[in-house]
């Protein structure tokens, strides 16, 4: 299978090596001369110092007989143009674009790019798994072992937004201590209305964590990442 890779950054470089190892025929277009020579020193003469966005260069690289064009530069606009030129000018059956700004994913799909790889989104997803973004933070266990000091960030999707402290359905024996709003701490009174961005400090029984979570963060099941 003949593959054209555009962009010799880290992604393009490792992709080239992997595909070569798998026995594919390919050419790599890298517009920076020094980078192109660097890679050529290692993988041989399949590297062309060319700007893959130029129709002329894609043609020289054999776009007309390519089965796949993969545009993996660090610039979304370049990757889009490479894929569109490949698809609409050279009838390449399969185009793959690296998308760096996750917001561009749907636009690229809409504009006919067949396959999207989004390293940013992949990294975010992996990191978010390790960092609970919308969780209660257990700050300290109070003497006696039954009560905890807890911090909660009030996000947009929190059911507490716009509600008065007195109207929240808090678990038994739970007390809201203070909120931190715009860098200032203030006491929470019955008529204090919670806002997006508030940090709430509370003391609660260790076993009522789930209930407090539902009241301040929201029900735990709404796992739609979008």
């Amino acid at each position: 299978m003949y593959v054209i890779i555009v962009g010799g950054g880290k992604v393009g470089y490792y992709l080239t090596k992997e595909l070569l190892a798998a026995g594919h025929e390919l050419v790599l277009l890298e517009k920076d001369g020094r980078r192109a020579r660097q890679i050529a020193d290692e993988v041989g003469s399949i590297v062309l110092q060319r700007d893959g966005c130029e129709g002329k260069h894609l043609e020289e690289a054999g776009a007309k007989r390519a089965a796949i064009v993969a545009a993996v530069t660090g610039d979304d606009e370049d990757n889009l143009v490479v894929c569109q030129m490949a698809k609409h000018h050279f009838d390449v059956p399969r185009t793959i674009a690296r998308v760096n700004n996750p917001r561009n994913e749907s636009l690229f799909r809409h504009l006919g790019v067949d396959e999207i790889i989004s390293p940013t989104r992949m990294a975010l997803a992996a990191i978010e798994q390790d960092i609970p973004v919308h969780e209660l933070l257990h700050l300290a266990q109070l003497p006696g072992g039954r009560l905890e000091l807890i911090e909660a960030q009030i996000a947009e999707d929190s059911p507490a937004v716009g509600r008065r402290a007195a109207d929240l359905s808090l678990p038994d024996a739970c007390s809201l201590l203070a909120i931190i709003r715009s860098g200032n701490a203030q006491p929470i009174r019955a008529d204090t209305t919670l806002q997006v961005g508030d940090t709430v400090l509370a003391i609660s029984r260790t076993e009522s964590g789930d209930q407090l979570h539902d009241a301040l963060i929201g029900a735990a099941d709404g796992g739609d990442p979008d």
Partner: protein, 170 residues
């Protein structure tokens, strides 16, 4: 009319100035705020720092629902991305992209983008000045020859080799 201009270079700045002076509501953006020095002191429009390739920033700058959208940055590809995003995602009807590479300009006309190719315009002006005949399609904004589509359909794309289709031939 409401006009949105991306890229405050010489072209963008003078266009912004003219549209604003003619009474239109103009927003001009650039990633480099120093570029706004090209605007007159009393420029009546809005000048905002924003990246034209970022849809969120475009929306925040108020690009949604404008009547005219000009992608005039120094990068052909950036203009191409921005113009398609404006047409497809923001639903703006009148969109122009400056694409200085003639091959790309022609290719994107066939894909439904009105383009402005400085290279062709200048070369034609100079050739005409030298006494050569005027080249068709090299004047001003070249209208799209093909039309936008959600390109999900398979290979049957009638305009993919449409570089020879004359301007306005749709």
């Amino acid at each position: 009319m409401r006009a949105f201009i991306a890229g405050c270079g010489r072209t963008g700045a003078s266009l912004a100035q003219r549209l604003a002076e003619a009474g239109h509501e103009v927003t001009i953006i650039d990633t480099n705020t120093e570029a706004f020095n090209r605007l007159d002191h009393g420029f009546p429009g809005r000048a905002l720092r924003a990246d034209v390739t970022d849809e969120d920033q475009l929306r925040r700058a108020g690009a949604e629902g404008v009547d005219l959208f000009f992608a005039l940055t120094e990068g052909d590809n950036r203009n191409i991305l921005a113009a398609q995003s404006a047409a497809e995602t923001l639903g703006i009807e009148r969109v122009v992209a400056k694409v200085n590479d003639p091959v790309r300009a022609e290719a994107y006309r066939a894909l439904g983008l009105a383009t402005l190719c400085r290279t062709r315009i200048l070369a034609d002006a100079l050739a005409t000045w030298s006494g050569l005949p005027h080249e068709g399609g090299a004047e001003g904004v070249a209208p799209a020859t093909g039309h936008h589509q959600a390109h999900h359909e398979e290979t049957a794309d009638q305009s993919s080799d449409g570089t020879a289709v004359p301007a306005g031939g749709r």
